[in-house]
Symmetry: C2
Subunit: 347 residues, 2 copies
């Protein structure tokens, strides 16, 4: 049997006023804690509020006041640990400053991204933190900025738009990583990165190339794969790289999803202890693998915090200086896999 509760309608200020025998305005004063209200009235009104379970209707307030104290965040995938940590950092900053955060995943779909941005702006967000997807409609972003929605772009830039950006030193970090492998004697390094159309993927690959150039070495393009790590379809390509006539002695990856995939493949081939490995972006338990996974670590929490603080300062008018383009540093964490001599070293 169902035990359906009788639903009384959500009470309004009008209901509270009626119950307390005062005017709507007085209830408003009590709810907002402004102006003076006699102790007695306060008591009566508060009793009525508790009694009825009154909760102020935010729409009505925001409609009238025109302010929402809300910011939006559009990232690629909440389920990705990199982004989930970033979100949590944004959330903490927002909540501490009294803002509500609306967060959603674009799922790498330009269409879904557009829907989310429209949904957020039509909900009157004061500002938006966006990880622009490759197909994101720049015109839409520009239009929203022009109609007063402050924006901060994270992880990837939105060229030409008047907004702050918070990026990672992808190129420098990747160069440092590749140089580390080269310094350990690796001249043939497989590189598995995401689709080169992605800003971060391209930057990291460039950093990889920089290291070879700096060392005066040639890169074998046959050892590089630039594609989305999700589909298992590219396993053929991975196998082809590892089975090359002159195979790589090390593997470097451009993001943590590729890292997981590459490590699984090495493991399946029994190469974990031989093939050197270095991944861009840290991942939990990287330290517990055998050997530990050497990585170029980003700091997603710092990215989120930085972006949120920048955005709120803009929104609150505390900062009206030129737009900032911040590059956060990466750090090399040596855990063993990147320090291996490779399968063909003389041991």
């Amino acid at each position: 049997m169902t035990t359906r509760t009788a639903h009384r309608a959500r009470p309004t200020m009008h209901d509270v006023a009626l119950a307390a025998g005062v005017s709507v305005k007085t209830v408003s004063r009590v709810v907002n804690g402004v102006d003076y209200v006699s102790a007695e009235t306060l008591q009566v009104v508060n009793a009525a509020i508790d009694e009825l379970g009154f909760r102020r209707n935010e729409f009505a307030r925001q409609l009238r006041q025109g302010t929402t104290a809300t910011i939006g965040l559009v990232i690629e995938d909440i389920g990705d640990p990199f982004y989930s940590v970033l979100i949590r950092a944004v959330e903490d900053v927002a909540l501490a400053r009294g803002y509500t955060l609306l967060a959603a995943s674009s799922a790498e779909s330009a269409e879904r991204s557009r829907r989310l941005i429209e949904s957020f702006t039509s909900r009157g967000v004061d500002g938006l933190i966006v990880v622009p997807a490759s197909g994101t409609d720049v015109g839409l972003l520009r239009s929203e900025i022009e109609t007063g929605c402050t924006m901060v772009f994270v992880d990837r830039p939105a060229p030409g738009l008047p907004a702050d950006t918070v990026l990672v030193d992808n190129r420098g970090g990747a160069m440092q990583g590749a140089a580390h492998l080269i310094a350990h004697g690796h001249h043939r390094i497989a590189y598995f990165g995401d689709d080169a159309a992605l800003f971060t993927a391209a930057e990291r690959r460039d950093g990889f190339l920089d290291a070879f150039a700096a060392a005066g070495l040639d890169v074998d393009p046959a050892l590089t794969i630039m594609t989305n790590p999700h589909p298992e379809s590219s396993q053929d390509e991975v196998d082809r790289v590892l089975d090359a006539a002159e195979p790589p002695t090390a593997v470097m990856t451009g993001n943590n999803r590729w890292s997981v995939r590459a490590l699984r493949t090495l493991r399946a081939r029994g190469l974990s202890a031989d093939m050197a490995f270095l991944g861009f972006d840290d991942f939990e338990l990287g330290d517990l693998l055998t050997p530990g996974a050497t990585v170029i670590a980003q700091d997603p929490a710092a990215m989120g915090r930085t972006a949120a603080e920048l955005l709120l300062r803009r929104i609150e008018g505390l900062d009206d200086g030129p737009h900032q383009h911040i590059r956060l540093a990466t750090s090399l964490i040596e855990r063993g896999s990147g320090e291996l001599p490779g399968p063909f070293a003389t041991r």
Copy 2:
């Protein structure tokens, strides 16, 4: 130098109507795609909309219509992979059905949880999916349910409240896990779980005890720790358990944060290949450890999907049957660590 864009105010339907030379109502018709509008008028209005960058004000619409097509989700920590996957599943269901999702972390704070729930309900969410924190105000939840906010509780129940719940078979899963270790010859098993005040933590510990009872074995309470895995402060306790006069031959954990902590400790002690390990809740890369981590896996995506579908069916009146209390099954994944004979086995 700053390049501040001139901000024109966000245009309203009134502005569009003026620009197009029609009435506000006609603009409304075009925006909502209802009723017939002449092709010519449609053209003119749409042109004005694009020209001005008009975006319908959701507050006003929702205020008038009384419906929001929004649901809220209050979990503990977006940064926790278990929850982030759950969120993503809820998000996908919500978006597919045309709902906007508001998601936020309670950060295990009853106060923050209360703020979030009030914030969501005062934004008129049609329903709420909640992972109730230990200190969550049941009175508040009841009051919100009574005023028409449909709720579904996930991961932990909210006893006595008229709502659906989606839980995991914590006790059965933990019992299966412990029985698995016992079957591999372990009679002294350390158990590291979260604070027993947490519903899931208590259920899993009970399942652990069940397995011992079923096997006719005694449990040494000195080998059990029930506390939040976060603070490094309890490392003393962990060490004491592992250094007991008669030490455990296996370690079982009650959640993935304890798993990580326990595995780090075993690794630091050089025990990874000797001490059997079994964790409740799977984690990424568990398969890549040496040996692979044997776990009792939950399916957070299924939990999120199930909860979201239940909630939307209620909201849309497709289901007005009795409240359901769903228990999702767990699955034992053998990867090696749970099948070790333990450090004192004769080899």
